[in-house]
């Protein structure tokens, strides 16, 4: 590989006017020196001599700025010249010299001259030569100051272009370019041939169509004849078969008819029987479900109410018994008390009697004493005796009165006690009455409710019954209606079948009209003949004849529709038609002659078609026969006889046998069909209404029955409630009577108290008077002599009075006791005893009643059970009957349906048979006609008769149409076609050849592309591998790789660098520090160098941003790289310098740069020697 041996500069930048030589050698040379001493000018000089054009790259404004500008001591240079000496011993430059010397000189005017080995040459020659040795002024191997990041900053595409250049794929591009030119030529040739082919093809296509038409025409002609004969024979065969079949079918139909008739009579019988059965069942059902069940239910409810009453009686009796027992207990209690009191009173009387005896004895004693005293006193004074007698009398009277008074007092107390007792009784009764009143009230409410319910039920029943009657009436009405509808439907169906049969017999209609109707053109009303209807069948022939060809006249809305329809007919080759546009067609005048009926009056039609119908029939009269026509005058009007003779106005008469086409309807089949449908719908709806009504009827009956049962329940309840009410009212009345009585008694007692009190007051007055009299008497008795005696007497008398008072008290007590015993207690006891006996009797009676009622309940329960059983049995019977009824009804319906169906079938069969007969006649006529026609054709042509004659007919039509379409036919086209075809095929084969040529070129281009890609990829892969390895070496722990933007097609994208310095996240390359960028860029440069080393590398201060460790790594790499390439490194770093083989020192004195060179290898040797010398010397 060539390398720089030395660099000579003269007048270049800071190097002054003298020639400065900088020696280089293989390996690693460092250029060092202080900033501004001119280190970088060495790099600039190299760029300059290699043909650099950019002054900026050499850090100058203009290229002439490179010329030494002079100093204070030295003049400026006239030109700048740099010479570079390359060692070419290995012939890296394609020149047969050991040394290649390149010189460039630039003058002040900016003009440059170049010399190669001393001979003038051009820049481009220099550049060519340099590029042969892989050297270029813009090469990646030249890294100028601050330019190390250019590999980072450059676009991915620029970066990829570097790889392109290194891999040398330019030669493929050249090959491709040549191939593309060939391809273009081939495509042009192809286009030319294509043009020719398309011309010939056009011609050929035209001829082919004509030839095909000609061939087709011949073929069609032949096939048509064959088809026609085949059709004829086929139709004859078909007719014969049809006649045969029809006859057979007729016989079949007859046998079927008789069969159906037999079946029908059987069904009729069955229906009658079933109906009888149904009636019987319904009658039974009516009686059982209605009356019997109701009666049963009534009985049941009666028994149930009896049971209820009995239960209630028992309850009542129990209550009464309880009540009586309570009362008996109370009475017994009282009786015991009364008896005790009697005993006690009797004891008291005994005691009081003894006391009385004693008192009487004492009184007698005292009287005796007093009498003695009185006797003594009497002896003293006679008057005194009289007074004394008076006094005694008074005293006696007084005593008597006092006793009476006490008696009265006792009486009052007794009366009061009685009153109190009565009042208690009254309040008890009142309380009872109150509770009774509440109960009565409640009962009344209940009764009211029940009554209301009863009346409601009765109302519902009434309503239900009236509704039921209404329903029955309605059902009857609807059934009548249904019968009417059914009858109508029957007749309509018959008519419809007749009409359908006739329509069937009419055979095919006008094809053109049918096609138009289907075409979808709006405003087509139909053939005139279809739009009218004959009023009476007897005019059918006459009207048909009168219509003549007008039958097929097509009635349309207006002339535009007609035009459209005509276009349609033309387009589809469907023949011709006459159109009657309603907006244009004019009516014909009626003939003004006497007699005949205007034909227009014998038809019915939609008034819209008036003019069209008039146009066809307006001038025609229908006459009875030729005689009538003659009467009117032949030639005076257009006339038609009923027999079908036509007498034209011109006098022409058309006549003979006329087979009516029967195309005119007597009735409109659609109308009849609609009518049948409407009637069927009506019938169905009527039937469903009837069904609904019947269901409603049944529901009402059931409802009414339930209401009857409910009513009897309610009335039973009501009866029981009313009985209760009566009982309660009785009790209430009793209580009221007792209260009244008691109140009367109280009144009486109060009166007696008042009377007694009055008597007592009287007694008091008398007592008072007597006391006063007694006092007066006693005073009168007061006699001094007798005082003592009197005193004694008074004392005795006082004692006596006391005793007598006591006696009278005792006596009154005795008397009252006696009265109490005899008048109260004893009668009370008797009363109580009587009451107790009565109560016991009552209890017994109630007990008996309970027993009886219970017995009754048992009997009634049994009866009820029996009734229930009977009811359920009856219900079951009814259900059975109902089921039977339903079954019978269903059976009837199905029988009737079957009957209807059979009838219908029978009718259909009849019509069918008729139709068949007509058909057979038609077939025979047609058969004769066809046989005549067959004589004109060659029967031998027929080989096979297809089954589908209709299709054959269509085919014939198609063939005829096609033949028409094909005419005129160019028969010469058959030959012409072959000539042109040959030419066409020749051109085709030529085109194929050209195409193959083109394909092979395209294939070649593809091959070049793929080779280019594989070469590029090999290069890139090797460099990328180097890059990753070198980056890892430069940035231990870091990772980096080169990545294609587009892996599929590398040339459509650029080359990306992905770097991850040690210990950092993946970084965008722009975000890296200067040092990191420099390391990445250097890894890239060395990666390339390792793959394909450049002859030399110039690095200007690539280590500016690196720390010593990194500089050391870079320096080591450079050292390693310098084994294969020359490295010139401008640096300030001692670590870098230390790795260099040679060091060029640059210093500046007085504005001029000077150079000193130092070989570190030699220096080492020298220092080593000196040290050894020193060592020896020491």
């Amino acid at each position: 590989m060539p390398y720089i041996e030395k660099l000579e500069m003269k007048g270049f930048k800071s190097y002054g006017n003298r020639k400065v030589v900088i020696p280089f050698s293989k390996g690693f040379t460092a250029i060092v020196g202080a900033n501004g001493s001119g280190k970088s000018n060495v790099g600039d000089a190299m760029l300059f001599v290699l043909g650099g054009l950019s002054a900026k790259a050499m850090r100058a404004t203009r290229i002439s700025d490179l010329i030494f500008a002079g100093t204070k001591k030295e003049p400026p240079a006239k030109y700048a010249e740099v010479t570079l000496y390359f060692n070419n011993e290995d012939r890296g430059f394609p020149i047969d010299e050991d040394e290649v010397v390149i010189t460039r000189r630039v003058y002040l005017d900016g003009r440059s001259i170049y010399k190669l080995n001393g001979k003038r040459t051009s820049r481009s020659d220099i550049l060519d030569l340099l590029s042969a040795a892989m050297i270029s002024p813009e090469g990646y191997n030249l890294v100028l100051q601050g330019d190390i990041t250019k590999f980072i900053k450059m676009s991915p595409t620029e970066r990829r272009l570097i790889i392109d250049e290194i891999s040398g794929i330019a030669e493929y591009d050249e090959k491709k370019k040549r191939a593309m030119e060939e391809l273009k030529q081939a495509e042009e040739n192809l286009a030319r041939v294509d043009l020719l082919i398309s011309e010939v093809k056009k011609q050929l296509d035209k001829l082919e169509k004509e030839r095909n038409d000609a061939l087709r025409y011949l073929d069609l002609k032949e096939r048509l004849e064959k088809a026609k004969v085949t059709l004829l024979v086929g139709e004859i065969k078909k007719l014969e078969r049809l006649i045969n079949e029809s006859e057979k079918k007729e016989a079949e139909l007859q046998s079927k008819e008789s069969e159906i008739e037999k079946r029908l009579s059987g069904i009729a019988k069955e229906i009658v029987e079933t109906e009888k059965e149904l009636q019987r069942v319904e009658a039974t059902l009516e009686s059982e479900s209605g009356e019997e069940l109701l009666e049963l239910t009534r009985k049941m409810s009666e028994v149930q109410s009896k049971i209820e009453v009995a239960k209630r009686n028992i309850e009542l009796a129990k209550k009464e018994i309880e009540d009586s027992r309570f009362r008996m207990a109370k009475a017994k209690d009282e009786l015991k008390k009364v008896s005790e009191e009697i005993e006690r009173s009797k004891g008291a009387i005994e005691r009081w009697k003894k006391r009385r005896e004693k008192l009487i004895a004492q009184i007698q004693e005292k009287e005796k004493e007093r009498n003695e005293l009185v006797v003594k006193l009497g002896e003293i004074d006679k008057n005194f005796t009289i007074a004394k007698q008076e006094f005694d009398k008074t005293t006696d009277e007084l005593e008597n009165l006092k006793r009476q008074y006490y008696q009265k007092e006792n009486d009052i107390t007794k009366f009061n006690e009685n009153i109190e007792r009565l009042q208690v009784r009254i309040s008890q009764l009142k309380a009872k009455k109150l509770s009774l009143k509440n109960k009565i009230q409640e009962l009344k409410v209940k009764i009211e409710e029940k009554k209301e319910e009863q009346s409601k039920i009765e109302n519902s029943m009434q309503r239900g019954e009236s509704k039921l009657r209404k329903l029955e009436k309605e059902i009857e009405e609807k059934q009548r209606e249904l019968q009417k509808i059914t009858a109508e439907l029957e007749s309509a169906k018959k008519e419809l079948i007749k009409l359908e049969a006739r329509q069937e017999a009419q055979g095919s209609k006008n094809r053109a009209i049918e096609a138009l109707k289907r075409s979808g053109i709006r405003g087509i009303h139909g053939a005139l003949g279809e739009l009218i209807k004959v009023v009476d069948e007897k005019y059918l022939t006459a009207v048909d004849v009168a219509l003549g060809s007008h039958f097929d006249n097509l009635v349309v809305e207006d002339d535009k529709v007609a035009e459209e329809a005509i276009k349609f007919l033309k387009r589809n080759k469907l023949g011709r038609l006459t159109f009657l546009p309603l907006n244009k067609i004019k009516p014909r005048k009626a003939p003004s002659v006497g007699g005949g009926i205007p034909a227009i009056e014998l038809v019915e039609y939609n008034p819209r078609y008036e003019n069209a119908v008039s146009f066809a029939l307006g001038d025609t009269l229908v006459v009875e026969d030729m005689n009538e026509a003659r009467r009117i005058g032949i030639g005076k009007a257009r006339m038609v006889t009923l027999g079908g003779e036509l007498l034209e106005r011109s006098g022409a008469i058309v006549g003979g046998h006329y087979r009516p086409r029967q195309r005119i309807s007597i009735g409109n089949i659609e109308e009849v069909r609609a009518k049948v449908q409407a009637l069927e719908t009506q019938k169905e709806s009527m039937e469903s209404i009837l069904n609904a009504l019947k269901v409603e009827h049944r529901g009402l009956e059931r409802e009414l029955f339930e209401l009857r049962v409910k009513k009897s329940d309610v009335s039973k309840d009501l009866e029981v409630l009313q009985k209760d009410m009566m009982r309660l009212l009785g009790e209430d009345k009793l209580a009221s009577e007792e209260i009244e009585e008691s109140e009367k008694l109280i009144e009486e007692l109060k009166k007696r108290i008042k009377d007694t009190k009055g008597e007592m007051a009287k007694l008091e007055g008398r007592i008072e008077r007597l006391e006063k009299k007694k006092e007066k008497l006693r005073k009168a008795l007061d006699n001094p002599e007798a005082r003592e005696l009197n005193q004694k007497i008074r004392e005795v008398e006082h004692e006596l009075t006391k005793l007598k008072e006591e006696l009278s008290k005792v006596e009154s007590k005795l008397e009252s006791l006696d009265i109490r015993i005899n008048e109260e207690l004893i009668p009370r006891r008797a009363d109580l005893e009587e009451e107790i006996e009565g109560l016991a009797n009552k209890i017994n009676a109630f007990k008996q009643s309970i027993t009886k009622n219970e017995e009754d309940i048992e009997v009634l329960g049994k009866e009820l059970q029996k009734l229930q059983e009977e009811e359920s049995k009856l219900k079951e019977d009814v259900k059975g009957l109902r089921d039977k009824r339903e079954k019978l009804k269903t059976k009837l319906i199905s029988l009737r349906e079957e009957k209807d169906k059979l009838r219908e079938e029978l009718q259909k069969l009849g019509i069918e048979a008729n139709t068949l007969k007509i058909q057979v006649a038609q077939y025979n006529a047609k058969l004769q006609e066809l046989n005549r026609e067959l004589k004109h054709h060659d029967v031998k042509l027929v080989k096979e008769i297809p089954l589908d004659l209709e299709k054959l007919r269509d085919e014939i039509d198609e063939m005829e149409e096609e033949i028409k379409r094909l005419e005129p036919v160019n028969m010469k086209a058959i030959e012409d076609y072959e000539v042109v075809e040959t030419r066409y095929l020749e051109l085709k084969s030529k085109r194929e050849k050209l195409e193959a040529e083109k394909d092979s070129i395209v294939e070649f281009i593809d091959e070049i592309e793929s080779q280019k890609k594989s070469v590029f990829m090999a290069t890139l892969n090797a460099i990328a591998e180097n890059f990753s390895k070198l980056f890892a070496k430069l940035s231990p722990g870091g990772e980096a790789k080169l990545k294609l933007e587009n892996e599929e097609d590398p040339f459509s994208g650029g080359l990306e660098i992905e770097a991850k310095p040690a210990g950092k996240e993946v970084k965008r390359i722009e975000a890296m520090s200067g040092g990191e960028k420099a390391l990445t860029a250097l890894a890239f440069v060395f990666a390339i160098q390792h793959y394909k080393p450049a002859p030399f590398y110039l690095f200007d201060e690539i280590d500016a941003h690196l720390d010593d460790a990194n500089v050391k790594r870079v320096a080591d790499l450079i050292k390693e790289g310098s084994q294969t390439s020359q490295f010139i490194v401008i640096t300030l770093r001692d670590v870098m310098m230390a790795n260099a083989d040679k060091i060029i020192g640059v210093s500046m004195r007085e504005g001029i740069s000077r150079v000193v060179s130092l070989s570190l290898e030699k220096a080492m040797e020298y220092i080593e020697k000196a040290r050894q010398k020193n060592a020896l010397g020491l």
Binding site: G33, D1134, A1138, V1156, S1157, S1159, M1164, I1167, A1170
Partner: protein, 86 residues
């Protein structure tokens, strides 16, 4: 950005001046030009390179004259003062 600032950079002026002192002393002793090798006290390439660089700095500062007869030939140093003095 973190720079690893080594003592060489920081003390460059000090080192250059010291070298100048040494050069002057050597000149005072011999009154003759001084061989570059005499200034190299440590034979490690780094030190040699550094010394070479300081000499260049001194020359740039106008303090010494570097004399070399031929490429890679012997390098001699003379203080400028001595020249002026002569």
């Amino acid at each position: 950005e973190i720079f690893v600032v080594d003592d060489f950079r920081v003390d460059i002026e000090k080192h250059v001046n010291r070298l100048y002192e040494i050069v002057k002393e050597a000149y005072e002793e011999t009154k003759d030009k001084i061989s570059f090798w005499d200034l190299v006290f440590d034979p490690r390439p780094k030190i040699v390179a550094r010394t070479f660089l300081y000499i260049l700095f001194l020359a740039n500062m106008g303090k010494v004259e570097i004399i070399q007869e031929e490429p890679f030939g012997e390098i001699y140093i003379l203080p400028i003062e001595a020249l002026k003095g002569n």
